[in-house]
Amino acid sequence: MDTLMALLTVITQPQLLLLVGVGTFAGVYVGAIPGLSVTMAVSILISFTFSWDVYPAISLMVGIYMGGVYGGSRTAILLNIPGAPCAIATAMDGYPMAQRGEAGQAIGVTTTMSFFGGLVGILVLAIAAPLVSDFALRFQPRDYMLLAVLGILLVGSLSPGSLLKGIFAGALGIAVGAVGRDPLTFTERFTFDFSLLDGGISFIAVMIGMFGVSEALLQLRHVATPTVRQKITRVVPSWKTVRKHLPLSLQSSTIGVVIGALPGTGGDIASLMAYDYAKRTTKKPEREFGDGAMEGLVAPETANNAAVGGAFIPMMTLGIPGDAVTAIMIGALFIHGLNPGPMLMVDQPEMFWFIVGALVTANCFMLLFGLTGIKLFTKIVEMPRSVLIPLIMLLSIVGAYAVNNSITDVYWMLGFGVFGYFLRHYGYPLGPVILGVILSRLLDDNWRRAIISEREDLWRFFDGVVSSPLSLTLMLGVILVFVSQTRLWSFAKSLLPRRKSPQEGD
């Protein structure tokens, strides 16, 4: 009974309901503007809500979080500029749809699927949080490393043209991610003795440059071309569409929850992995992936919103943040006099149920705001390009600056913007670059941790992989994906009865 009361706190108190609504609304816009991040918004809210009670403060933050994760898809679809890292995959098929004048439909599907994914995430949080957090804790450095390798193999899916160019782009991304002082030993890497480079290159700056500025530079060629008129009928997807994608959305939500619950990985990796998964498993898409396939929207959008619920799992059960936003929320709980940690669930279970309730409410608001404001949003793309392009550039500059309050990030952003323009022009895919930057530290740090733990002994390392069921599963996943991507696949198929494929390391 107490549980039910706590769960319904938000709905029964108009003030809290309003705050969740306002938060979600603001979140959608914060998420949509590249460079304004949920992390930033939530950390500002800590000071802003300092003198408030804990419930209103948390309501507002939960709203912003839910709305922000969803909001990134808006600009990804409309402008081909992901508003947030977790919307990178959404741009792949969302933007082609907008170019056909189907932006309304794309946003409609995205919204419905984000809602669905969010719901799955919250459901798992509510009924299986301790179970999932136990599982997440079991990930050892070598498992994180294998996960990163699995992620890097997505390069194949993100490179529609030449795989070799994709490999180059992915490797470039990993190298960019390694710039600066290594966080584990403080050794300088690729700093060329410039102290400016010590802090490394912000990954958001690279993303904004590569997607924002380079897109704007390319659009310069089309200033005179009239913009595509958007049809905004059929925004709410039919039941048939939803039902058709139900199995896929359940699977991609699962990916989202698990990746979200792992400390150190979040919605960005989850959505890319889900996109890749969809591309692999969808037998006959109505349209090709990269050309406006509905599945290419469904998978990443369910996954990144499911990751929200996932990120709360370790936070609520163990006091361990699932991502950057939950890290700040832990700080907020602390400032409001609570003790976020494993005992929170025991001492104050009502806090847990309150957050679950707030998440459900925010999710519903997201559906509401997502399906209503579309007309206004599509107006953005219909703006004259002569105004839109300079504005995109200015927003990119401000956004890159805002990440770390550093002018250096602005230079990098512009540099990568111009470089990205040439990469695109010569057919190098940009997705893998961003993927590489995202995964760089996950791969590097955990590889080193894993091999140090085994005293630099490769043999002991492989022994460890084989003897742990989790690592073994991940390893098999890596091998399977790798083989299926190369010509070895057809070769292995012919040998299928014995299932022995010549394997080379990567």
Partner: protein
């Protein structure tokens, strides 16, 4: 080929096809540049810790820059083998005039940002850029630029307290002044 070339770059997030049957103008130079840069980075990565240990901070950088070097060398060889595309002038297809102008504008922006401050630099940038692209009247250009700059400034500076370089504009005093006017500050 040449006609649909620009579209293949812009129509989707990822260029539709990375494999081409003819070499694009400037492709050889670009690939050679990537190749040289990769090899240089590989050398630089080797310099981090050499072959000291599997767990050294240089291990992963060396592996990735090696991957970059190998793939770019193959790409260079492929590019050399491709027949040259029909006499394309670099200036036209790769770097059109308006592109050069905008790169210069962005460069000017980043140089002026610190000494001049965000608000004046951004205002100048928007006015010049919109004027060049839109060729509308000065009135339209200035009103649109300043209005959108004001919105951006309010969202980022006031809403999100992102402290852009103030330069010659006494922003902080100005905001404090506003605070005093509306509601008498924080106390």
């Amino acid at each position: 080929m040449k006609d649909n070339e620009p579209d293949s770059c812009t129509d989707s997030a990822v260029p539709a096809n990375g494999i081409n049957s003819a070499r694009k103008p400037g492709e050889l130079v670009f690939t050679a540049f990537l190749c040289i840069a990769s090899v240089y980075l590989l050398w630089e990565a080797y310099g981090i810790a050499g072959f000291e240990a599997l767990s050294s901070p240089g291990a992963v950088p060396m592996a990735t820059t090696a991957a970059m070097a190998i793939s770019s060398v193959i790409l260079l060889v492929r590019a050399i083998r491709l027949p040259r595309a029909r006499a394309g002038v670099i200036a036209e297809s790769v770097v059109p005039g308006v592109f050069v102008v905008f790169v210069l504008l962005l460069l000017a922006f980043s140089v002026l940002l610190k000494p001049l401050g965000f608000v004046p630099t951004a205002a100048l940038f928007l006015v010049v850029a919109i004027k060049i692209l839109g060729r509308r009247s000065w009135g339209f250009t200035i009103v649109v630029s300043l209005a959108s700059l004001l919105v951006i400034w309010l969202v980022f500076r006031v809403g999100f307290t992102v402290l852009m370089p103030p330069g010659i504009v006494p922003e902080a005093e100005f905001i404090q002044f506003l605070r005093n006017v509306f509601g008498g500050g924080r106390s």
